[in-house]
């Protein structure tokens, strides 16, 4: 593994190794001294062409916990807004001696461009590109799922140890991903990774928010949230954020009104009751309380949303460790 661009590139073995390494990293985060000297002297550049404070802070925390130096590069106010190309930005980073580049870009495929041989020659980590992929989010979701579903007889609300499920995948687990699949890189990254790990995924969305070609994905599709919950009994429900700008007719008219969306596809108190005893609720954040998820569901003992944030730091530490700890000499040298 040289880059982390897409969860589709990960083999089963690599995916389990990433989750196991995440568990090891999470174990170090419970200590009094959280910082490790592992990546001392390495420089990680956070290259964010799209605003995302949460993801950037998570990557920055992960790199700093491993003692790497972090440079934050935001496109706003930089020469990128004056027309500098992605290629020139990449060459600048190369000249500065970056050891890894974390990139968030509004265009799908931008991280692949940076990862092409001869351009940067350092590991490139995709922190979300367009509507394509968000692999570290999928890894932290898979880690959270494995941790909670390893022992399904445990009470919801009780956080299992970081070691729960180590060495295992998610074989046979049923996960429903609900909401705006069409625009969601989180859904795409999750479908690929969860399928690799052996889980069954059902996408639940209004027909207008299901992408063309979804039949080629390794998952099922449902348009009825309630019957999916009652008949399929998923082990976990992953709610997706609905972008407010997409609700109106001007934004594309994907659904008639927020109230109707909420009634059909929101996780409210009634639907929360339909879940199996061990089932958990995930959300990549930030949430629209009252739209895709009710406050009651977001704050219920089943909700692992806050834990996902903590696991995000551990998952990103694992990715940085596996990509950076060994020497990444370019093939040409």
């Amino acid at each position: 593994m040289r880059h982390l661009l897409s969860t589709k590139d990960l083999s089963h073995e690599e995916a389990v190794l990433l989750l196991d390494t995440t568990a090891a990293m999470a174990a170090t985060q419970g200590r009094e001294i959280k910082k490790l000297p592992t990546l001392r002297g390495r420089t990680v550049v956070n290259l964010f062409f799209e605003d995302s404070t949460r993801t950037r802070i998570s990557f920055e925390t992960a790199a700093k916990r491993l003692s790497a130096d972090v440079i934050n590069f935001s496109a706003k106010g930089s020469s990128v807004s004056k027309g500098e190309s992605l290629k020139d930005t990449a060459l600048t980073l190369k000249a500065m001696g970056a050891d890894a580049v974390v990139v968030r870009h509004h265009a799908s495929g931008a991280p692949h461009f940076l990862a092409q041989p001869g351009l940067l020659d350092v590991p490139v980590i995709n922190a979300g590109d367009g509507t394509h992929q968000h692999p570290t989010q999928a890894l932290l979701d898979a880690f959270t799922l494995r941790r909670h579903l390893a022992n399904t007889s445990a009470n919801p609300g009780q956080v299992p140890g970081v070691d729960a499920g180590v060495g295992h995948d998610l074989a046979g687990r049923k996960i429903a991903i609900v909401g705006d699949v069409l625009h969601s890189r989180v859904a795409r990254a999750n479908v690929a990774l969860l399928a690799t790990l052996g889980a069954h995924v059902t996408l639940v969305a209004p027909p207008t928010l299901v992408p063309v070609g979804v039949h080629t994905w390794p998952c099922s599709v449902s348009y009825d949230f309630t019957s999916t919950l009652t008949q399929w009994q998923p082990d976990a429900v992953m709610m997706l954020r609905v972008q407010r700008e997409r609700m109106s007719a001007a934004g594309g008219g994907f659904f008639p009104s927020p109230a109707e969306y909420s009634r059909q596809y929101g996780l409210d108190a009634a639907r929360l009751q339909m879940l199996a005893d061990h089932a958990i609720v995930l959300h990549p954040g930030p949430m629209n309380r009252g739209l895709e998820i009710s406050a009651q569901a977001a704050d219920s003992p089943r909700s692992v949303i806050v834990e996902q944030v903590a696991n995000g730091v551990a998952a990103r530490m694992a990715v940085l460790y596996l990509l950076l700890a060994s020497e990444q000499t370019p093939a040409t040298v």
Binding site: D20, A24, R31, L36, A325, S326
Partner: protein
């Protein structure tokens, strides 16, 4: 194969010359347990930390022997493991290593005498990393080092307090420690000299 007895060995093994057998390892650990109790005037303040992978199995056996020497020692309460992977200074020269587990015993490390246990003491870099790792976990009163085999070639000023066997080796040789818990049998072999 020649030079069978160059290291006081007891026979030829499929993967090298066996220099310590099961009984030798058992005897060495018993002796080390007595030395530890004698030097620390009892076992009340002891914590035993094994370094993965084989150091953990050896630490476990050592803790049980300490308990049989000094009844105040509870082997489960004093036993821990210390993974040093993330503290190594040679990470960038090797493929990524799988990170192991660190388990600090319930009693903690503060004010305790920590006995680090490893199978082979060689360059001393693992122990340097272990000392760094310990520093992040607490402040022991003292740290002591027990190694089943000391093969020399130190690159750092580190010296063991308890040694099962001193084994002068050449750099071209490899010392392999096998323990029942991982390899199905106990034994120390030396390979590479004539191969």
């Amino acid at each position: 194969m020649s030079g069978v007895d160059a290291h006081g060995g007891s026979g030829v093994h499929p993967d090298g010359v066996e220099v310590l057998g099961e009984a030798d390892i058992a005897r060495a650990l018993t002796r080390i347990a007595h030395e530890i109790v004698e030097r620390n005037k009892g076992g009340s303040d002891l914590v035993v930390m094994g370094i993965p992978t084989r150091g953990v199995a050896l630490a476990q056996r050592l803790a049980h022997r300490l308990a049989s020497v000094d009844r105040s020692v509870d082997p489960q309460r004093v036993l821990g493991t210390l993974d040093v992977t993330m503290y190594r200074d040679d990470l960038h020269r090797q493929p990524p290593r799988t990170i192991g587990r660190t388990r600090v015993p319930e009693v903690g490390l503060d004010g305790k005498v920590v006995v680090l246990v490893d199978d082979v003491l060689f360059s001393g870099r693992t122990i340097r990393a272990a000392l760094d790792a310990l520093q992040d976990l607490g402040r022991p009163k003292a740290v002591q080092l027990a190694a089943l085999v000391d093969r020399g070639h130190r690159e750092l000023p580190i010296r063991p307090d308890y040694v099962g066997k001193n084994l002068p080796t050449s750099l071209s040789e490899k010392v392999r420690v096998h323990v029942r818990e991982h390899d199905g049998h106990d034994g120390v072999t030396i390979v590479g000299q004539d191969q």
